[in-house]
Amino acid sequence: MNMEVETRLSEQVARYMDLAASEAKLTAANMANIDTPGYQALGMDFEAEMREALSGVDDDRGPRPVHVKTVEGLIARPDGNDVSMDRESLNLAEAQLKFKTGVALLRQEYQRLMDAIHVDK
């Protein structure tokens, strides 16, 4: 009898939160290096990573590594740095919102499960 309490949705939301946290970390690293000469901004393709994570939940794989790559299409300043303050601020706000959305969804799902477990109380 498998007692582990998890649903497909809760696993998906957990991966979503992992990805949002990764995006926040990348953005923070970019922000910290806004004045480092020659630094190239790092980024990740959130949608692609999320698609892969969703299919991973279905196939019951573990979490996959996040593909970090330098962002294209950014303009480099004379010192070689191409970090854009506006872009990073926006990304951080987005990542934060995604994270909080995940928390809300997860809490809802857990509440549902707890209600089911205690249905006779």
Partner: protein
Amino acid sequence: MNLFGLMETSGSAMQAERMRAEVVATNMANAETTRTASGRPYRRQMVVFAANQGDSGFATSLSDAANQNIARLPTPGSQGDAAAGVHIAAVVEDSAPPLKRYDPGHPDAGPDGFVSYPDINPLTEMVDLMGATRAYGLNGSAVQAEKSMISSALEIAKT
């Protein structure tokens, strides 16, 4: 690197930017210093930013963290040591030649009557200071965002 490591990253940036601002302040204060402790005129100082070790291994540590299955935890200290962020690699002196002004009566005048002043342009320094302030504020708001994320994560288990 976990979410707490995020605060270290942003914190390192704030520290670096503050040092940069301090250097700017020193430059401005010594714009007219013709004789320092070493006897020569003051030379303009500049900071050199360098990304922390972790940034080159950032992709690795990120992938390690994302690869973590709750059922397969790494041993403590095996990763998460790579701190991303930035630090001041060096404070270097500007190699530009000093400004010379003709003033034979000055105690620091050379044999030719010229006094050497540091080549510090207040406008340049102010722009530098503004850049430092802006970056400081940017990373400060990043810290706020990170704090908020961690608090909301703590609410997952709140009944």
